[in-house]
């Protein structure tokens, strides 16, 4: 259901801001978990540091930093918000 210009969160770079459009995780338990942690459609995320090995990555969500692995962030679709 991702729109034309939606891309996965995993492709964002540090410092990017991102607006979630859709959480397409097949596992319902994991989906619920992400929703509870604040990854909700319409929500804004700021991409923080990547760990030395490139995975997981820290994300700033509603005032809290949460680290996700690519296996999760690959399924979170949305668009980059331009800061300028």
């Amino acid at each position: 259901m991702a729109e034309r210009n939606d891309c996965p969160l995993s492709r964002m770079k540090q410092g990017d801001r991102f607006r979630i459009a859709n959480i397409a995780i097949p596992d319902p338990v994991l989906r619920r978990r992400l929703l509870d942690l604040g990854f909700v459609p319409g929500g804004e995320i700021e991409v923080g540091q990547k760990s030395p090995l490139g995975d997981p990555t820290a994300y700033r969500v509603r005032g809290t930093t949460i680290a996700l692995r690519k296996e999760e962030s690959n399924y979170i679709y949305g668009e980059r918000i331009n800061n300028d």
């Binding site: 319902p28 338990v29 619920r32 978990r33 509870d36 604040g38 969500v61 509603r62 005032g63 809290t64």
Partner: protein
Amino acid sequence: MTRTNYTIALMGNPNTGKSTLFNVLTGLRQHTGNWPGKTVIRAEGEFAHRGATYRIVDLPGTYSLYSNSADEEVARDFLLFERPDLTIVVVDATALERNLNLALQVLEITGRVIVAVNLMDEAKKKGILINSKKLENKLGVPVVPISARNKEGIDKLMNTVDAMVRGRIKTNPLSIQYSPEIEQAISKLMPNIRETVGDAYPARWIALRLLDGDTSLLAALKQPPQRDTKEEGAYACCGSVESI
């Protein structure tokens, strides 16, 4: 006849100062252990206020009650099966949006709730203003701003607890309205649920959990964890929940 013994559950997201509040309320009158069969710390304490004694249980900090973890299961089961007289949901004033998720979930289970907005001092430092009256009107339950660390607002919280257990405060908890399809499915399920589990459980909430495919709830309903014997009648008939 007036009761003088009440049980209070303390809930909240991790790092909201829940345990700080717990310590402020109980002082040294507390003991800890593990929940039966789970590696989750159970902290329980007592305090007295205006002639009543309160047993207060510090539930594990959770973001949700939808049981993705042992912590969440413990918190959910306590609300469902031990049915505290009152639940205090501690929310972080500096991250209200995130914290209200849990508060709303609790309101779907029980209306006997006080929302304690903690870390008011932190919020002030960050320039965040909380309109607790407005929040109270929206949520339909008392909202008390506190700063557990500085022991501010504790008197007001205790007085609200007192007023609530004595029935002087009536609540009107916010009930989230879902899409027409979901609401329709809920009303279809509710009579069956009431018939199967009785009035002891929040039927609307159970309907929502069933629609969500929450299998751990079914397991818990079939075999409720340790609980008071007074509720024996209620779960004798839970065996056929699956057939709903």
